[in-house]
Subunit: 166 residues, 2 copies
């Protein structure tokens, strides 16, 4: 990978696909770092808070116990002080290959999503797969309409930058 | 509800439905007890171990931390010593109305199910709804083929008996 002076032009593509037959979303994204590093950026809260979510939000982590049977809770705050809470459980954390977690936006606690992250080793590089399963197709479509895509893309751009410093 | 000398003939029906369009299973079952009692039978491990699963299995609970962000792990053992482990997380425990948890059979750790239990108050009686969401329709069908139904029905019959004892 050639680093350039304009990293914003070199970010790999993030593919986000809504399944036509199932209430799921697939995300695929490659990173210029080994699975161990990409995995650690998902489990170490000091790293997570530096990349997860849109650039304009500040992340405050209340809990990030990234082990099987653990849980997490964090707040994303906008410049004007508006706060958005999120929480869930770590169903399984399997170093350095797989993380299964639940996800809920605290503003709509009845909506729960099950997310499986898989860290595919491309030989010093990593292909990250995220499968998000919703209870209904309407819930899946509402997540997409909420602006999830820009948050995911911007978060992964911040993760590129974190890994490049790494 | 009139108690009789033959409680095995009076158990309410357990309805188990596979959705034709989604990778889900719906279970509906009524109980002759208030939501608080049915809920407590799902959160107190001393009660859970007396009813969950088929009659022929012995349940050993290693962890049952039924609170939001908690987790559980247990082993069901057959008479011949064959052991089956299960584990998951409690995404949300909302007294006395709702429990959202993940579920995995340890023998197949890649299979994860998201289960939402809702305790509907019928006025001293309870209608329990379980919505189980799988990642794929094949995973859902495999769960049904595994003999899940008899375990669920027998478990709820044991729960009837536990609730009747007060």
């Amino acid at each position: 990978m050639t680093e350039t002076a304009h990293p914003e032009t070199t970010h790999p593509e993030t593919t986000i696909t809504a399944d036509p037959d199932l209430p799921t979303i697939h995300i695929v994204r490659e990173f210029e770092a080994a699975p161990e590093a990409v995995f650690r950026a998902h489990t170490d809260p000091e790293l997570v808070r530096r990349w997860l979510g849109p650039r304009m939000l500040t992340m405050h982590i209340e809990r990030w116990d990234a082990q099987t049977g653990g849980a997490y809770r964090y707040v994303h705050t906008e410049d004007d002080g508006t706060a958005h809470g999120f929480y869930g459980s770590f169903h399984e954390v399997r170093p350095h290959g797989r993380i299964v977690q639940t996800f809920t936006y605290a503003g709509f606690p009845d909506g729960v999503c099950l997310e499986t992250a898989t860290f595919e080793d491309l030989g010093g590089r990593t292909r990250l797969h995220i499968l998000s399963v919703f209870e209904t197709t309407e819930g899946r479509d509402a997540a997409i309409s909420s602006g999830m895509e820009s948050g995911v893309v911007e978060g992964y751009e911040q993760l590129d930058e974190l890994l490049a410093r790494g």
